[in-house]
């Protein structure tokens, strides 16, 4: 057990170091700081009530940057290992392919969640400064569900990283993420309006693609609506864990069969 935990820790640490020693994360942080800070000191049309729209814009940026980080980190988990041949010394060590997969996934998740926490702390401080309400329960719920979103998209991107190049994987996962956030809730009603082949395609997407809209608490947070029940939060997290487990199981099958 000690042996296994050391292996998983080593693999996870590698993913975290990869994220933090690259310059692109620093760029994302600086960019978000440059965009978010002025937004919070700007009162649209001199109406304080309209400031919630700047909050909405800020949250949109937090979602965008966190998705870019989550997908970016996970999509780079395997292709560089194959291209630079580091997969050979890695697999020559007494480590199973399942452990490699889990360790890398946990590392990507830890790296993405640490970046997400920084974004939410920045948002919480800036929103608190402006509105005088510091870290309300709905913000914690939004962070919790956003973390669930990261659990799903990193697993999805890891699955893609075993079969696709970094750019192809990023494009595909980016489209799925954006598409499901925008259309996920309306897929069934859209399917009902379509003729037969299109209808079945939309139903297939409805059942196969991850329902990322479940994790989106932006409206509730921005408009200061009350939090949802913790039971619903738990159910959504259960969905995230099941979806991520399915992605990892499929990734394990692909990785086990992969010839290097």
């Amino acid at each position: 057990m000690k042996h296994l935990s050391r292996q998983i820790l080593a693999l996870s640490r590698l993913s975290v170091l990869d994220l933090y020693r690259r310059k692109d994360l620093a760029v994302v942080f600086v960019l978000s700081g440059v965009i978010l800070t002025p937004l919070f000191f700007f009162t649209p049309f001199g109406m304080s009530a309209a400031s919630r729209y700047t909050n909405e814009l800020a949250m949109l940026l937090v979602w965008l940057f966190s998705a870019v980080i989550g997908l970016g980190v996970a999509s780079r988990l395997f292709p560089p290992e194959f291209n630079s041949r580091t997969i050979y010394p890695l697999l020559s060590k007494p480590v199973s392919r399942g452990t490699v997969l889990v360790g890398k996934y946990l590392g990507a998740l830890a790296a993405s969640l640490s970046a997400l926490a920084i974004f939410y702390v920045a948002y919480g401080v800036l929103a608190g400064t402006r509105q005088g309400v510091w870290f309300p329960p709905v913000l914690w719920q939004a962070l919790l569900l956003h973390a669930g979103f990261m659990v799903v998209i990193t697993a999805l991107s890891l699955l893609g990283s075993l079969a696709l190049t970094v750019s192809a994987n990023l494009t595909l996962c980016g489209l799925v993420t954006a598409g499901m956030l925008v259309f996920g809730q309306r897929l069934v009603s859209m399917a009902a309006d379509q003729p037969a082949p299109g209808r079945w395609a939309l139903y297939a997407i409805h059942w196969i693609a991850p329902h990322l809209e479940f994790f989106d608490m932006r409206q509730r947070l921005v408009h200061e609506w009350p939090p949802i029940s913790w039971g619903v939060c738990g159910a959504v997290w259960l969905y995230a864990l099941c979806y991520a487990a399915a992605c990892l199981a499929l990734a394990a099958v692909i990785f086990r069969r992969k010839k290097f």
Partner: protein
């Protein structure tokens, strides 16, 4: 005792037989050179020894176990040909990572890392990221990671490629020193002169099949002492046997 045992091993990729009925043994404490031209099947054989994939036919046994089982690999050290290790790490981070994969405690990794970094001559470059390393320096970092967990069997894929003369001499001394410690070294190479200098036995492979195996002296039965000539002779004999090749 045989550290490596391969019996009638066949591995095909599509219609191409990369390894063809290969039977080979490597004894404990010997240095064995695995020689062949490009595409002869050397790397495929090494990959099977490391359990990256199973043979289609035949049996592979390493240190008395199945190399596909992780615990068997605990006593194998491997250095691949021209790996470009994680560019954002320095050599200490790299060894800490591989030490973790071997299940080593952090203190043990640190102690062993310092010893190996000095041994392969990377002390001065210890804090520099690997992206700034030359090919030869990466090769030396590769040797350090292969030796980190004190393996009984060291498998090296083209270890002399890209090394300057001084680094070659150091690697040669290191391999001989490992034999002195009772370790077994199996390496593939094109560098016949290096193999001739250090190998107890050599195995020559052509189109996946073993064409000759023994000490340089045994292979040169007619008194010929140069491995290069032996290599050419053995391949010619094989070409004659097969009517000029398949």
């Amino acid at each position: 005792m045989d550290v490596v045992k391969m019996e009638g091993v066949v591995k095909a990729f599509g219609t191409v037989r990369a390894v063809d009925k290969l039977s080979l043994t490597v004894r404990q404490g010997e240095i064995m050179g695995f020689l062949g031209t490009n595409g002869a099947g050397k790397t495929t054989t090494i990959k099977m020894l490391l359990g990256f994939f199973r043979p289609d036919k035949g049996r592979v046994e390493v240190l008395g176990g199945d190399p596909c089982v992780p615990s068997t690999r605990a006593k194998i050290g491997f250095m691949p040909e021209a790996a470009y290790y994680y560019p954002f790490l320095n050599v200490r981070d790299l060894l800490e990572f591989y030490g973790g994969l071997c299940g080593m405690a952090r203190n043990a990794v640190k102690r062993r890392s310092e010893e190996l970094i000095a041994r392969v001559g990377l002390s001065e470059a210890g804090k520099k990221p690997l992206r700034s390393y030359s090919k030869g320096m990466l090769q030396r970092a590769g040797i350090a990671q292969a030796l980190l967990h004190d393996p009984d069997l060291l498998i090296l894929d083209e270890p002399f490629t890209g090394l300057d003369p001084l680094a070659r001499i150091n690697l040669r001394d290191l391999i001989i020193d490992l034999r002195r410690q009772g370790k077994t070294v199996f390496f593939s190479s094109h560098e016949l002169s290096e193999a001739e200098l250090i190998c107890d036995r050599v195995a020559i492979i052509k189109r996946g099949a073993l064409v000759s195996c023994g000490s340089v002296q045994e292979l040169a039965g007619d008194g010929e002492r140069n491995l290069e000539r032996v290599f050419l002779k053995v391949l010619e004999v094989d070409a004659d046997t097969h009517g000029g090749g398949r």
